[in-house]
Every structure is written in structure tokens, then in C-alpha cells.
């Protein structure tokens, strides 16, 4: 991004200042990367609850009788089979099978909500409009509506007294329309941390009072504001892909291990032929999970070797408090080296450090 580009602020910008947030440019917004400490915020989400401002993410409203049939042609997962108030992960691909974006569809009573990555919001808005069908009405709420996530084992207990829907019985990947602190919201049991939790889609003008209310009323329960730094560690431990890392225009959902989201029973959608061929040939480089044997962290872009030969590169890496404090990473490597138990080497500042391939996810919460 050029220095002249004006960074946008979310509706919660002033709240972040009150909690000493460290702000960084992210997806065109000034976003909190941390408040107190990434590790402390990570601990809050795994053991109590954390509050995230995700208002940089793109929110599109899709309306009309043909939305589902139309969107089926643009995405790899099934849409028409979604029940009312269900949410579903889905990926838009290019004709070569690479990922335009990974998203979540929310089927509301009379419309659809599509949540896209903040960095891809403009690209996705253009993509949807370029492929628009008759009777599909699109509305772009990016930067106007807010998204607040509450994540962690205490989420139900914290949220239940401030909402007029039964959040305890809301199923995973379902949502409800109701009120939070008396303000209209779509309340979804979704998240990106590997913990139980909710995402609250609210009007921007109501976001500060909801944010401040939850922190005021539940600081004693250990609820803390959490930044994008903690979110990245949490999602990597939980084995969830991050666009630009495990999924890109060049890295397909098949390579990223997301076959579960690929419905080849759908007759036609952008990228279908390429993805089916890739899966059938089964010779593609793929995303593998790595645990470093030593203490040096692997970072994005570091070269990966197998038996002395370069085979790929690190796509994400972090220290992982929920994986015994070890350093974990993802790497894009050939099939033969992506099997659990294989030893790889990561070049860290000119020295090779051993890593072991492990199955994903690295972390799974106890049910």
C-alpha cells in the first residue's frame, strides 16, 4: 500500500484507543494487532473469552429468489442445501482452481449475508458484479456495518444475558437475528479461533456501546479485547487457512486440504474442471503442518528442504502456546514429503533447522 493511501477506521476505532491498542495497517484499515500482549490475549480466548473487532472484513448482502442457484456457479461448496439460518464456509475459485477468496455464507430469513476477507473485499465485490445474474441484488456494507467476535469457552455465559435469543442452544455454524444490548444483530455461532464463540454483525453506530458494554460487564469474567496478532496464532493452531498464506490465487483449496468443502457433485462452477483434474492426478504440492524440533521459529517465506534438496516454502509460522509452546508452521511441499512423520529442514538465516510433518490441525479443543 502506498503511503498516500488513506487508512480507514472501523466504528470501534475510539474504543481501541481506550485499551492502548497497537494499531497497524491491515486490509486498508487501522486495526489493533494487540492490546496488552499477544500471548495473554491468546490465553484469554483459550481459557476464558476474547473480544475481536473484525469490522475490516467485507460484508455483502445478497437478495433475490435466485441467489442460491447463482452463487452455486461461483463457489465450490453447496449453497442450495443450506437451511434457513445456517452458515457455511465456501470458496470462490478462478478457472485454474486457485482461490479468489474464502468466505462464509449466512442464509438469513429473507436475504443472504456473505462475509469475505477484508483484503479481498474490493476484488470480491468486482467479481460478484462482473458475474451478476438477473434478480440478484447486491449490497456492499464493507466498512459500514461492524463485526464483533466473542470467542472462548465463556462466550455463552457472557453473551446470554445481553441477547434476546437462546445462544446456548444455537448450533455451531447456525445464526439467529435478534438484539444485543437492545441493538439489532445477526448472532452467529461461528469463529476463527478453534474455540466456541459467536460473531455479532451489527450496525456500525451501535458497535461501540456493545463492545464497551461487554468489556465493562465481563472484565471480571476475564473477557479481554484481543487483536489480530492473537487471532493469527489461534487460527494457525486450529489448522484454519488464512487467505494469502495457505490459500491464494495460485494455491487451490485441494492443495490447502479443503476437499471437505469441494462438492464435485455440483455440475458446474468456476474452477471445477481444474480442481477435479488436480484431485484425480494427485501429484500436486500441498499444505503440510510442521512442528519445529528446535526453538527457532519458522516464518513465512523461509525455504524448506528435504534430504538437502529445496522442496517448498513456509506459508505461516508461529510459536504455539496450545501446542506445548512449540513452533508450528505450514509449508507448501510435494506430496511425498507431506506425510506425517517425514523430517524436513527449514532454512533460518542460513542454518537448516529440522521440522517434523504432523497432521492438521495442531490444536483441537476438548469437547
Amino acid at each position: 500500500m502506498s503511503a498516500s493511501t488513506e487508512l480507514r477506521r472501523t466504528a470501534l476505532y475510539d474504543e481501541h484507543g481506550k485499551h492502548n491498542a497497537r494499531l497497524v495497517p491491515f486490509a486498508g484499515f487501522e486495526m489493533p494487532v494487540q492490546y496488552s500482549s499477544i500471548l495473554k490475549e491468546h490465553d484469554a480466548v483459550r481459557n476464558r473469552a476474547g473480544l475481536f473487532d473484525l469490522s475490516h472484513m467485507g460484508q455483502f448482502v445478497l437478495e433475490g429468489p435466485n441467489v442460491a442457484a447463482w452463487a452455486e456457479t461461483l463457489t465450490i461448496n453447496a449453497i442450495e442445501t443450506m437451511k434457513p439460518m445456517q452458515a457455511r464456509y465456501n470458496i470462490f475459485c478462478n478457472p485454474e482452481g486457485g482461490a479468489h477468496d474464502d468466505t462464509i455464507f449466512y442464509r438469513l430469513a429473507d436475504r443472504w449475508l456473505l462475509v469475505v476477507n477484508g483484503a479481498n473485499a474490493d476484488k470480491m465485490w468486482a467479481h460478484l458484479n462482473a458475474n451478476r445474474a438477473q434478480d440478484v441484488h447486491l449490497q456492499n456494507l464493507h466498512g459500514r456495518n461492524a463485526l464483533i467476535a466473542i470467542q472462548g469457552p465463556k462466550s455463552v455465559e457472557i453473551l446470554k444475558s445481553h441477547v434476546d435469543v437462546d445462544v446456548a442452544s444455537l448450533k455451531y455454524y447456525f445464526c439467529a437475528e435478534g438484539n444485543v444490548y437492545g441493538r439489532p444483530a445477526v448472532i452467529a455461532r461461528t469463529g476463527y479461533t478453534g474455540e466456541d464463540g459467536f460473531e455479532l454483525f451489527v450496525f456500525g453506530e451501535h458497535a461501540p456501546e456493545i463492545w464497551a458494554g461487554l468489556l465493562r460487564d465481563h472484565a471480571s469474567d476475564g473477557l479481554e479485547p484481543c487483536g489480530l496478532g492473537a487471532r493469527d496464532v489461534l487460527r494457525l493452531e486450529a489448522g484454519m487457512p488464512l487467505y494469502g498464506h495457505e490459500l491464494t490465487e495460485a494455491i487451490t483449496p485441494v492443495q490447502a486440504g479443503l476437499q471437505w468443502a469441494l462438492k464435485t457433485s455440483k455440475p458446474e462452477f468456476i474452477g471445477r474442471n481444474a480442481l477435479v483434474e488436480q484431485m484425480e492426478r494427485d501429484t500436486y504440492d500441498r499444505i503440510a503442518g510442521l512442528i519445529m524440533k528446535g526453538r527457532a521459529p519458522a516464518r513465512e517465506g523461509y525455504a524448506v528442504y528435504h534430504e538437502g534438496k529445496p522442496v517448498g516454502e513456509i506459508r505461516s509460522g508461529s510459536v504455539a502456546p496450545s501446542v506445548g509452546g512449540q513452533n508450528i508452521a505450514t509449508a507448501l511441499v510435494p506430496k511425498a514429503t507431506a506425510t506425517a512423520g517425514v523430517t524436513l529442514e527449514v532454512d533460518i538465516r542460513g542454518t537448516r533447522h529440522e521440522a517434523t510433518v504432523v497432521p492438521l490441525p495442531f490444536y483441537k479443543r476438548a469437547k
Binding site: R22, V33, Q34, S37, I38, L39, K40, G229, D232, V233, R295, A296, P297, R299, S318, V319, R349
Partner: protein, 126 residues
């Protein structure tokens, strides 16, 4: 946390405590706070000759890798081995248990290239 008056400082946010011809080196409170949670420190090996303001290692936080520079020249005498298991000591006690390495001072005259606590404070806290 105040920067101790008995130390000298570099513009790159290292501190050095000079005791005879032994220099003990760490990073400042400002530096550890800016970096955030420190998860890994890579230090020069014992016996290595290092030059003032040379890049001799890294300090890594959860999110970033930062270069580490030496405020004085000399031979590396010792590194703080306890940081391998507990790198967060640099966050907790940057001027104490979080020290990084010791150097056999080569040229005491290099002190004139370093800053007092009050001059360093003008860089770090303004």
C-alpha cells in the same frame, strides 16, 4: 520502567553495563515493549569477535524478527543460556535477568559513541 543511570545506551535500543573490561549487553525496556512477547533470541557464539554497531543476532517476538546490534566491540565471553527456556525474561526484566550477552571490551574509547540514560530517553520516550 526507568532506564538505569549507570548504563550506556545505543540508538538501536541496546544497553551496555561496563564493569572493568567486561561489558554486559541487553535491550532496553522501550525495545522489549515495542517488540511485544519475545519468543526467541539468537545470540553470537562464545569466542566470536564482534564490531561495534554490527548486526550480531536477532530477537523475535510472536509477530516479528528484529535484528540485534552490539553497542561495543570485543570477544563474546558468555551468552545468557537461561533465555533459551525463558525468552520472556527479556520482557519481564530487560535490565536484569533478561540480559543477552557479555563481551570482553576491546576499546573503552567506544563509550563516547554511546548515549547516557537521559540522552537515550530523548530518543525512546519522545
Amino acid at each position: 520502567m526507568a532506564d538505569p543511570d549507570n548504563l550506556l545506551y545505543s540508538k538501536e535500543h541496546e544497553w551496555v553495563k561496563i564493569d572493568g573490561d567486561t561489558a554486559t549487553i541487553g535491550i532496553t525496556d522501550y525495545a522489549q515493549n515495542s517488540l511485544g512477547d519475545i519468543v526467541y533470541v539468537e545470540l553470537p557464539r562464545v569466542g566470536k569477535q564482534i564490531e561495534q554497531f554490527g548486526n550480531i543476532g536477532v530477537v523475535e517476538s510472536v509477530k516479528a524478527v528484529s535484528d540485534l546490534f552490539t553497542p561495543v566491540s570485543g570477544e563474546v565471553l558468555e551468552t545468557n543460556g537461561s533465555l533459551e527456556a525463558d525468552p520472556a525474561a527479556v520482557n519481564r526484566e530487560p535490565y536484569g535477568a533478561g540480559w543477552l550477552f557479555k563481551v570482553k571490551l576491546k576499546d573503552a574509547g567506544e563509550k563516547s559513541n554511546l548515549l547516557s540514560a537521559s540522552d537515550y530517553g530523548k530518543i525512546a520516550h519522545d
